[in-house]
């Protein structure tokens, strides 16, 4: 936050540099079930962010000393592809991605019925293919769809969304310049059904009122994103049902052959 600049982030009409209104999200596109090998997956575009999420599990947690005899552990690995940012990022986890992996793991754990799978691990892999501010919220949103696609029992989906402060105004879903030159960023994640906040960070400079307004704005927007998640899953189920029909048909063919 807070690099100095002459860029005017909000114009006279209250519009943002990419033409959005203060409470407007960037365009979001979600597709579930995009990978074959993973147990569940999702692809998400959020503005210029491009994110893949994959889920494996529940499977045996290893190494063994990680196992919890009372519940499954949720292990998220958030990773940025080396080519996803302006200057090539060295492969492997840096400190930032370790922290993000941790808070996303905690947020996802809040909805997964982990007690159903003692000694197991539910592994979530988020790959940022192109980054453009807001990748942790995008990754978490995609991961939650991938978990549903994998059939992991959950209380609800989780939705990530950020709000922030730029040009002394509270706005939704900061873009890259807004993130670089703005005054505050508040990434959060909620469980839409209960309104519980399961991820919350903030950095910058905000009065309490501004902070509360930002949280409310992000909460409200996350309900819209929730609909996109559910829509992606509905499309996915339709395709799966179709494929299963075909599969059953072809299995019947095989049976006939074998007979």
């Amino acid at each position: 936050m807070g690099m100095k600049t002459d860029i005017k982030l909000i114009d006279e009409k209250g519009m943002r540099i990419d033409g959005r209104r203060p409470d407007q999200l960037r365009p979001i596109k979600i597709e579930a079930g995009v990978l074959k090998r993973a147990d569940g997956s999702a692809y998400l575009e959020w503005g210029k962010n491009k994110v893949l999420a994959a889920v494996y599990g529940p499977r045996e947690a290893h190494p063994r000393h990680l196992q919890d005899s009372a519940k499954a552990i949720v292990q998220c690995r958030y990773n940025m592809a080396p080519f996803s940012v302006s200057d090539r990022k060295r492969p492997g986890p840096d400190r930032r991605s370790v922290e993000i992996s941790k808070i996303i793991s905690e947020a996802l754990e809040s909805v997964i019925l982990t007690e159903l799978f003692p000694r197991s691990s539910i592994d979530v892999f988020i790959e940022v293919l192109q980054a453009n501010a807001g990748t942790r919220c995008a990754g978490l949103t995609a991961a939650s769809v991938a978990l549903a696609d994998a059939g992991i029992p959950m209380k609800d989906l989780v939705v990530g969304c950020a709000a922030g402060k730029i040009g002394d105004k509270v706005v939704l879903d900061l873009g890259k310049e807004e993130d670089n030159f703005g005054q505050a960023d508040v990434p959060l994640a909620i469980i839409p059904r209960t309104g519980e906040i399961v991820l919350l960070q903030m950095d910058g400079d905000m009065t309490q009122e501004e902070l509360f307004k930002a949280i409310e704005m992000a909460k409200e927007a996350s309900l819209r994103i929730y609909e996109l998640q559910k829509e992606a899953l509905r499309r996915r189920y339709a395709i799966v049902a179709e494929e299963e029909k075909e599969e059953i048909a072809s299995m019947e063919e095989i049976k006939e052959e074998e007979e």
């Binding site: 690099m3 400190r95 905690e106 519980e196 906040i197 960070q201 950095d203 910058g204 909460k219």
Partner: protein
């Protein structure tokens, strides 16, 4: 007894205590533990402070040298924060490179110092684009009884405030005190079932559902926040916590 049984007993004990409006160590829900600050105890470091927050014990040390600024901020000094959860402090800490917990700790403290504008970094420029003062803040956790965030944030600010910039050694005039701009405060709350507690001990952290740290400056502005653990907060709870912080 298995680890799970021990955990269950601890949970039951703390829940029962909280239902009776008592914390295991006798504190009020929104009462801090006793704080003791010892600044300057590592003389060889440019700055240092040891903070005892109850039985939590954190030593912060500052080493200063001269180096290049970051290309995108050529006229300000550089502050680098590192935290080591050394195995001395807890049977659960292991030797080795920083794990997710110590990385989160150092990053949260670092964001707090940065966003809270604790050090006036502009006064640490020697030659724009060429030479600036570099500060290494190292957090050494000596004894771990919960709420590392607040203890570490406090030790960091106290260590910075005690720091003398060794200008003479580099023939850059007299040594001078590190210019401190703000002295913001980190305040951490834990949620256990539906009870919110200030300054959790290790036992309380172990059974907590969620944690929220709020970094506020002298004007009551919020400068940084970090939620932790796998439970959630209702929005009203967040509001209450921020107002209290």
């Amino acid at each position: 007894m298995s680890q799970e049984t021990v955990a269950q007993i601890l949970r039951d004990y703390i829940y029962k205590s909280l239902m009776e409006k008592k914390r295991p160590d006798g504190r009020e829900f929104f009462e801090y533990r006793k704080i003791r600050i010892e600044p300057g105890i590592v003389e060889v470091a440019e700055g240092s402070a040891r903070v005892h927050l109850g039985n939590t014990d954190v030593l912060a040390g500052i080493k200063m040298s001269i180096g290049e600024p970051f290309p995108d901020t050529p006229d300000v000094g550089v502050l680098t924060t590192n935290a080591e959860l050394i195995p001395m402090a807890s049977p659960y800490f292991e030797a080795g490179p920083p794990d997710a917990n110590s990385i989160e700790l150092s990053r949260v403290v670092d964001r707090g110092l940065r966003e809270g504008e604790v050090v006036d970094l502009a006064k640490l420029c020697i030659e724009p684009g060429e030479k600036v003062w570099i500060m290494f803040l190292d957090l050494h956790i000596l004894d771990y009884d919960g709420n590392l965030f607040d203890a570490a944030a406090l030790a960091s600010v106290a260590a910075l405030a005690s720091t003398k910039v060794p200008a003479a050694q580099y023939e850059l005039g007299d040594d001078f005190r590190l210019p401190i701009k703000n002295w913001p405060v980190m305040t951490t709350f834990a949620k256990i079932k539906d009870v919110i507690l200030l300054d959790p001990t290790l036992d309380e952290e172990k059974v907590a559902d969620a944690r929220l740290s709020v970094y506020t400056d002298q004007n009551g502005h919020v400068r940084a926040m970090q939620k932790g653990l796998s439970g959630g907060f209702a929005y009203e709870e967040v509001k209450d916590i921020v107002k209290m912080a």
